[in-house]
């Protein structure tokens, strides 16, 4: 059964009369329980799609056309209040920037259980804490109790990214969007986080939209992937197919470029 269907999604930045299209007629779908990879070079529109799925828009950003069906609901058509009930609850996201995505003046515990505070109002303080601690253990953070009481600046980049994942999975979402969740981290930690996401996917059936510009990483974690280029989805299929018989010239170049694994971070 399909969990996510994106059709003809077109996103642009509009300033006055100028319109710059950054995602054009993008379409893809995801099965329940699947890990779907999204590859593409920097600036190809991966984050724009991810944020649009989450309902996070930047200034001047406009969804010009398209349809997003998530779990049978049409996201773009629903009122804001209803959309809010999905955010962090049935769909959540881990951002590209682990160092700055947490609030520096709030304790980790507060931030991990915030989705619960918003979406599970019936839970008591103690229950929320239990669930938050469980989430911290799920992401294999040693000393969950201690981390619960600490502030983001006391943690390393890898730990912060785990905290972000913990806060994203605390409501047991149906879909987790991992937007280059590992790009800013060193290779060992990158491997740990990938293993972790695979484990969570296997144990809870949570679907993962795994975004990366690193084909090798995609190959490791996904069976199916889509390739984005200049705001368009130029290819989709199993990773196997994409590697063996790339249809697009761009994909071929992407594959050819694998060994020169460049590391970059968005500002």
């Amino acid at each position: 059964m399909k969990l996510l269907e994106v059709d003809n999604l077109t996103i642009a930045f509009e300033e006055g009369r100028e319109r710059q299209i950054v995602v054009e007629h993008a379409g893809f779908s995801m099965e329940k329980g699947e890990i779907l990879g999204v590859v593409g070079e920097s600036g190809s529109g991966k984050s724009m799609v991810a944020h649009c799925l989450m309902g996070l828009y930047k200034k001047n950003e406009k969804v010009i056309d398209g349809r997003i069906l998530f779990d049978g609901q049409s996201l773009l058509a629903m009122p804001r209040e209803e959309r809010r009930r999905i955010q962090g609850n049935t769909m959540s996201i881990v951002f590209q920037e682990p160092m700055t995505s947490l609030n520096p003046v709030k304790k980790v515990g507060f931030q991990v259980e915030e989705s619960l505070s918003i979406h599970r109002k019936e839970l008591g303080k103690q229950e929320k804490k239990e669930l938050a601690l469980q989430a911290l253990r799920d992401v294999e953070l040693p000393g969950a109790e201690e981390i619960y009481e600490s502030y983001p600046h006391e943690l390393s980049g890898g730990m912060r990214q785990r905290v972000m994942i913990a806060s994203a999975i605390v409501c047991r979402p149906k879909l987790l969007i991992a937007d280059e969740a590992t790009t800013a981290l060193d290779v060992t930690i990158q491997a740990q986080i990938i293993r972790l996401l695979k484990k969570l996917n296997a144990s809870t059936g949570m679907s993962v939209l795994f975004i990366s510009h690193n084909l090798r990483v995609i190959q490791e974690i996904c069976s199916r992937a889509i390739v984005m280029w200049q705001g368009k989805v130029v290819e989709q299929g199993t990773v196997e197919e994409i590697f063996r018989h790339p249809k697009e010239d761009y994909t071929r170049r992407l594959i050819a470029a694998i060994p020169t694994r460049k590391k970059r971070r968005n500002p």
């Binding site: 962090g88 003046v105 918003i118």
Partner: protein, 315 residues
Amino acid sequence: MKYVLKKFITLIITLLCISAITFGAFSIIPGDAAVSKLGVNASPQQVEALRQEMGLDDPILQRYGRWLSGAVRGDFGDSYQYDNTTVASLLSDRLPVTAMLSVMSFLLILVIAFPLGILSARFSGRGPDIGMNLVTQVIMAVPSFFLGILLTYLFGLVLHWFQPGQFVQPDEDLGACLCYLVFPAIAIALPKIAMVVKFLRNSVLAEMEKDYVRTAYSRGNTKSSVLYRHVLKNAFIPVITFLALLIAEILAGSIIVEQVFSVPGVGRLLITAILNRDYPVVQAVVMYVTALVVVINFLVDLLYQAVDPRIKAGG
């Protein structure tokens, strides 16, 4: 704890430096204390005798030590201008008045500027924000003393809400005294309110662009819960520093505004003391005001630590 200790040591050293500079400056200024005390008609013998008595011929370090040990106990010696009156007693009449005026101005700033700043940020680019921007721009350009004159005219002479020049001492009638002080407090506070509104607004808007705000939205927060639960605490951090700077300005502002409203506070004492070359008084006031500013900065550092968890680690 280490942080507090470090800040406390800094505080003591700063106070010592200030006292040395203040004392040094007044011993360089031309003019002889004995002469000013006796008047220009005194004979050289009389002056010399008094110099001996006052210990003015002792080495400067000895005099500094004597002055400092007195100052610590609140004893700044005698006034030159008024006979048989200690500086301490002059100050003890005026300090409460200035303190009330400054505290009142500060409270006015807090109570008015914070809601307006937040409001302005919430509606940034829309009606309320644009209107506020205009008003703050105008108010910031008007100096306090001129505002004081306007307020005296409007509330004193036209509306008769208070009687300009009829200051009531706090120990006579505290209520009436406070009612009188409201107007000079407004004169001091208004331009600062405008500054804080603008500063807070910009601080909130700058925070709104941060990555953690996007994270907060991604968890299903509403705009107002993002603002109140996430952004404000972060946005207050730079505002605290700004407020600390403002305190010095409030004190400076009160010196001028006290003149306009005929409030018998430290400001007026200072100005008459300067005109009469009453150095012990000037010295004491300068010392008090600077010490106050330094102590407040120390307290602000402590407040910082309470608001910003990153400071403890940094030390």
